[in-house]
Symmetry: C2
DNA sequence: CTTGACAACGTACAACTGTACGTGTAGATT
DNA sequence: AATCTACACGTACAGTTGTACGTTGTCAAG
């Protein structure tokens, strides 16, 4: 396990866009960002450059542009980030975070339903 | 809503200890930290000082020591942090994070049971 | 009174973050 | 060809973070 420098909040935000697009250039990321997230082209460029330098993204040349794609499984990146949060804010226990989410963020009926299904599946499999 | 400077990961880690103790001095925090979390006395001191400066903790003098206690509700701090994470990594949706927690962190049978109870309560109240 | 222990407070400092500008250059447009 | 677009790449720069040392002053033990 090579120790990858951790990605900052904003970097992760950009990485997520790349993940969701599968592969993306600076412009793609910029236009895929939430409308209310104002960010300069060159700022996105910098984040992508840093993510590449840190080993989170692979870069490839397409014409005169750089196109980035994940270099490590998004899930594993998310896991590291979430684990860290869990460790520092919830003593390493996942349940309190789930509780927080349920109580403080009021899941919709729909989400509750989906969550229930998830639980059912889990219990099924555990049996 | 006064804009409070955000607390860093390590600062939050320290804040959490204070929250869990209710009120604490540097030494208290230091000894309450997980055994594997090696941190210098003065490092803890710095974090507490910064948390105070940022308005997260109130400080009071007891003898020659400073004792800190929450200045804002922990829950609201946690909410801000979690909301930010949600926004940047999960498009603002809580359920994907819950799913991540369930799948990637394998809740124990016990936790699943507790979660189920939580859900039941929710559904009850939603009626 | 002298010596230790312990804590406050100021200071340090390199690395990392957020955010962006300027310069150069390869295609597209006129 | 001259000009306009886009983008890459280097650079910048103040603020934040992680981590800790050194100085100073006080209470307690000898």
């Amino acid at each position: 396990m090579t120790k990858r420098a951790s990605a900052s909040k904003s970097e992760l935000e950009i990485a997520r866009v790349v993940w969701s697009l599968g592969e993306a250039g600076v412009r793609d990321v910029l236009t895929a960002l939430p409308a209310d997230r104002k960010m300069d082209f060159s700022t996105v460029q910098t984040y992508l450059r840093r993510l590449h330098a840190k080993g989170y993204l692979r870069a490839r040349r397409v014409g005169r542009s750089n196109v980035y794609r994940p270099a490590v499984k998004p899930t594993s990146v998310v896991r590291d980030v979430v684990d860290d949060l869990l460790e520092r804010l919830f003593g390493g226990h996942a349940l309190p975070l789930v509780q927080h989410l349920i109580h403080e963020r009021g899941l919709s009926d729909d989400e509750i339903e989906q969550l229930q299904q998830l639980l059912d599946q889990l219990k099924e499999r555990k049996k």
